[in-house]
């Protein structure tokens, strides 16, 4: 009889039993993920220097974020970086992947590896290398000089108008490969007969791209956007190594502020508040991207 009842139920019923199975994983998850997040949220409610006993501050730290013009700017800079980290790589990646997929390039594997390479190199190394490129006597200025564009040369990372885009371009360089490879994988799964049908209906290459290719890789686009947008919003190492938020405060970003406040200034509570706010922002944006992609699929 007991066996009969067990067989009659879907596996994992009653729920109590199912949760028991999940418990070990949940304990680990809670200890290493939820607990630190809980602590961070808790710290953000205190005025704490990391050394002495904290003083309850309620939502003061969050109010200070809204009131602090420098911090608002930092979040603004992060959103600018989204353009460079996510949107431009997506546009370039779509074009590259479509061409590569279509042309059936010889040595595709090699090309794919080369495009993906920036992802493999540690960001700190990337940053050090690009710092040399952007230096007043660096590669970029040498190139401009050789092209007779001497008037355009400058210390790129020290220029108020160009420092943030210059940091952004490094992001574009890093993320384009990832996006391209993701999209290539998606496009190679599109059944050839779909293209054939489009051809028979008289679609040109452009029409074919918008009618067949783009809708088919919607899922890959969502994944690529999620990854790159998160990378953009939590940028830290690149800014830390290249500009330290300068010149002035023109390239400071929330993650850098978290580090700077917690370790440089000893404002742990405020740092935690910035971190929590950033986490929430990232959560909302990536949730939005996935909702958008889901709706497209059904």
């Amino acid at each position: 009889m007991a066996r009969g009842r067990a067989a009659g139920r879907p596996p994992g019923e009653p729920r109590r039993v199912a949760y028991l199975y999940l418990l070990p994983a949940l304990v680990v998850y809670a200890a290493f993920l939820l607990f630190p997040i809980g602590r961070a949220v808790q710290f953000s409610l205190y005025d704490w220097d990391g050394l002495s006993v904290g003083r309850w501050a309620g939502l003061d730290n969050y109010a200070a974020i809204i009131a602090d013009e420098g911090l608002r700017d930092a979040f603004g800079h992060a959103l600018v970086l989204v353009v460079f980290y996510a949107l431009i790589p997506l546009a370039v990646g779509l074009a590259l992947a479509a061409v590569l997929n279509h042309a059936k390039v010889r040595g595709l594997g090699f090309f794919r590896t080369v495009v993906f390479l920036p992802q493999v190199v540690a960001m700190v190394v990337v940053a050090v290398a690009w710092r040399r490129v952007y230096a007043p006597d660096g590669t970029l200025n040498a190139l401009l000089g050789a092209l007779g564009l001497e008037s355009l040369t400058r210390g790129w990372l020290g220029d108020y108008a160009f420092a943030l885009p210059a940091v952004g371009v490094v992001g574009t360089w890093v993320e384009t490969g990832l996006v391209t490879v993701l999209l290539l994988a998606g496009m190679s799964r599109v059944p050839p007969d779909l293209y054939e049908a489009a051809r028979l209906d008289g679609a040109g290459a452009v029409r074919e791209f918008f009618a067949v290719t783009l809708p088919s890789v919607r899922g890959e686009i969502a994944v690529a956007l999620t990854l790159t947008v998160i990378a953009a919003l939590r940028t830290f190492d690149l800014v830390y190594v290249t500009t330290r938020g300068g010149p002035g405060t023109s390239t400071t970003v929330p993650s850098y502020e978290v580090y700077h406040r917690a370790f440089g200034l000893g404002q742990v509570g405020s740092a935690a508040a910035v971190g929590v706010t950033l986490a929430l922002l990232i959560f909302v944006i990536s949730f939005g991207i996935n909702r958008f992609a889901d709706r497209g699929l059904t």
């Binding site: 949760y19 809670a30 002495s52 006597d137 010149p247 370790f263």
Partner: protein, 457 residues
């Protein structure tokens, strides 16, 4: 995709767990390790290290590079040989790594015994405030440290017991090396331009102009890392603002002000140098290291920088390198230069072996230790005049430091002023040098940070 019903069924469970995690931690941060009350001078100071029994000292230092690492190793070995009963457990990390980890280490239950703590308010000041460092005055009396060090040097390690007053009060550490910001110059270039090392500040400006006309980079500067211009501004400020006012500002005293005519004159002179093209092109986008390395390769006639670059620049330029204190308004004016000490060695309040720790600190700052420092290419902070070095740039540096400390002309780094001042001043100087703000706006920014801090301190 996952049906939405199942997804929403999972959310409360996670929320519940998160709430539980939060409840577990519901005591105020920092309360698990209550600060030890600042233990006043230990009742009986024992200076006979050999009689202290078997002891292990954990020492955190940041002497990881070249001559610094060499002197530390040599001194530690000598200490072990002399006191076999005291075992040293050395942990050395780079400056940045030490800075970021020390805060956590000190708030733990078993902090290291001896640590190198940065003098500024956000490091040593905060540690003193939290009662984590031991006041060393009793040891200073027992070992005669006040005779060994000039007061103008000791004050960089002094704080009031509540950590609010910097530059006076208890002694919390002893540094090994001295630092002074002065003017490095390229002798060969000066010779080619028909110039001699400037004797007055006006001469210096004239020399900059001559160098510019001759197509040289007059003053090498790389300000991408934000802080390098602080030393250039400090040097210019020393020609316009009385030394005691600079000290008051840099130690963050109430009542001093940035928005004075003297400070305005200093800021205006600095901006004037930008207008006249005395700095290299794109200096705000040039890194600190590439800039002094360029000077070492013979680009640039002058470089305003600290003595910590001596060893590397000497290697690059050899006898073409010269160093001098920033010249005064007149040739005979009392010397004023930004400077101070390397990171002081402090003893933690929870250390179970303060006597052994103090013996170690005494040993690595003794007269013999200063000789070791000299022989490994460092600038010893005490007894600088007694060291014999051969003529050349190293002697220039020793003479300069001896002169300026002897005449109490050392003024503190400006970024000591408030816990946030390094960033405020660094960013404001980038703004000023890029002509984004006027000298008046620049000083107003400094004044705001300064007043906010001094009024709440």
């Amino acid at each position: 995709m996952t049906p939405s019903t199942r997804r929403s069924g999972r959310t409360p469970a996670i929320a519940l767990l998160a709430a539980a995690a939060l409840a577990l931690t519901a005591c105020a941060p920092g309360s698990s390790a209550p600060p030890a009350p600042p233990s006043q001078a230990p009742s009986a100071v024992r200076t006979d290290a050999a009689a202290l029994g078997d002891v292990t000292l954990t020492v955190w230092d940041q002497e990881v590079r070249g001559g610094q690492a060499a002197q530390m190793k040599q001194l530690n070995d000598a200490f072990q040989a002399k006191y076999p009963n005291i075992k040293l457990n050395r942990v050395s990390r780079s400056f940045d790594d030490l800075n970021t980890t020390l805060r956590l280490a000190l708030s733990g239950n078993e902090p290291p015994d001896v640590v190198e703590a940065n003098n500024g308010r956000s490091s040593m000041g905060a540690f003193v405030k939290a009662g984590q460092l031991l006041p060393l005055d009793a040891y200073a009396d027992a070992y005669g440290w006040k005779r060994r060090y000039p007061e103008s040097v000791l004050r960089y390690s002094r704080y009031s017991a509540d950590g609010k007053l910097f530059g006076e009060g208890n002694l919390y550490g002893l540094p090994q090396v001295g630092e002074v910001v002065g003017v490095f110059y390229n002798k060969a270039k000066l010779g080619k331009l028909g110039l001699r090392p400037p004797a007055t500040w006006a001469d210096f400006e004239t020399a900059l102009g001559t160098a510019k006309t001759a197509g040289e980079v007059p003053l090498q500067l790389g300000n991408l890392d934000k802080w390098p211009a602080i030393h250039v501004f400090g040097t210019v400020q020393g020609r316009h603002v009385p030394a005691d006012q600079i000290s008051a500002l840099a130690f963050g005293r109430k009542g001093a002000s940035w928005t004075t005519p003297e400070n305005t004159a200093a800021a205006e002179q600095l901006v004037g140098w930008v207008d006249k093209g005395y700095f290299g092109k794109g200096f705000n986008g040039q890194g600190y290291d590439p800039a002094w390395q360029a000077f070492g390769k013979g680009e640039g006639v002058f470089l305003i920088a600290g003595t910590w670059l001596l060893a590397d620049l000497e290697k690059a330029l050899g006898d073409d390198l010269g160093f001098m204190l920033p010249p005064g308004v007149s040739a005979g004016a009392a010397p004023v230069a930004t400077g101070g000490t390397g990171l002081p060695f402090a003893i933690t309040a929870k250390s179970p072996h303060p006597d052994a720790a103090a013996a170690y600190v005494d040993f690595i700052t003794s007269a013999d230790a200063m000789k070791v420092l000299t022989s490994t290419g460092n600038l010893p902070v005490a007894e600088t005049g007694q060291q014999s070095v051969q003529a050349g740039p190293q002697q220039d540096v020793f003479t300069a430091f001896g002169t300026v400390t002897g005449k109490d002309g050392l003024v503190p780094y400006l970024d000591y002023a408030t816990p946030t001042f390094a960033d405020t001043l660094g960013a404001a100087l980038q703004d000023l040098l890029a002509k984004k703000v006027t000298p008046q706006e620049f000083l107003a920014t400094l004044e705001k940070d300064y007043k906010t801090f001094t009024e709440s301190n």
